[in-house]
Point group: C2
Chain length 201, copies 2
Amino acid sequence: MNKGVLVVISGFSGAGKGTVIRELLKKYQNYALSVSVTTRDPRPGEIDGKHYFFRTKEEFQELIQKDELVEYAEYVENYYGTPRAYVEEQLEKGKDVILEIEIQGAMKVKEKNPEALFIFVTPPSMEELKRRLIGRGTESMEVINSRLLKAREEAQWMEHYDYLAINDTVEECVECMHQIIQSEHSRMSRNQEFIDKIRKE
Amino acid sequence: MNKGVLVVISGFSGAGKGTVIRELLKKYQNYALSVSVTTRDPRPGEIDGKHYFFRTKEEFQELIQKDELVEYAEYVENYYGTPRAYVEEQLEKGKDVILEIEIQGAMKVKEKNPEALFIFVTPPSMEELKRRLIGRGTESMEVINSRLLKAREEAQWMEHYDYLAINDTVEECVECMHQIIQSEHSRMSRNQEFIDKIRKE
């Protein structure tokens, strides 16, 4: 069996990444979501190993020192990271591992894993992004404007991604993303074993 | 509308490229087959502009001099080439243009069109290739062996292609190829216009 593909997904806040990824995992069986490790306390109902791997700050420091994290970041005095062992295990099983992560983290993953597949999710226009942020009804205009400003910064990084997934309707975007990831399995550089086999024959 | 993708397809003789391409064009409407220009005489039933563009040797020389061919080659004292104008016209219409061509020609196309998509078609094994060549029942063992020898040489070029399409069953291979080509439309480098648009907003 072929190894899975590590898929790194970023995009504007409000682009609908979360929904698209959830639907992708629901519709197709060959994906696994990367589970993050964190030092924050579990919230009610959160299960260790499913929602997060919950670790102490000392344990987290050890993970960093042993280079057991694909990437990590500090956020509101807590650490969040992607454990290499879990990702590797899923890839070895042939699962395509989805890593939803901010651009900074994604760029760190790229340094160490240039063979990963990088997808950037965007709404069809900035106008639509604004509409969606307002539509949520949960954010103040101040927060919305700061997100739009952030999106402007984030747009500078788009070329560092391999593919663009335009989230017009969720269903189409799921299909598009599935197609992109599955095609990646046919990439010549991922089939060295087959090439070697056919040359030996 | 987005420009089409120029798709260059090569593969072992006996891999079933022809069948896969024919079925791909039958099943999906967004493809156009590149029409070659040749100096050989039309055979009964062959239509100029459909099967080939039939030209005199002088006219062909002029096409070469004016750099109006994507690639060309001489074969049994006749010239065969790919007219740039026809390919460009189809791409501008948004069609994905399929160019079935030998490795040497493909490498020439790559020099001038590095943005083209290169797919290599192979049977699942050399054993299967041999079985298919024998199964045709039209070739002598001598011809079959020379084809297998040629396949060995051709296998050295596989890494120059972007994707590998394993033709196990025609139906699966058609789907795989369609998926690869359609994903290519989402490649970041093919969406510069969209990126510019979203940045301006």
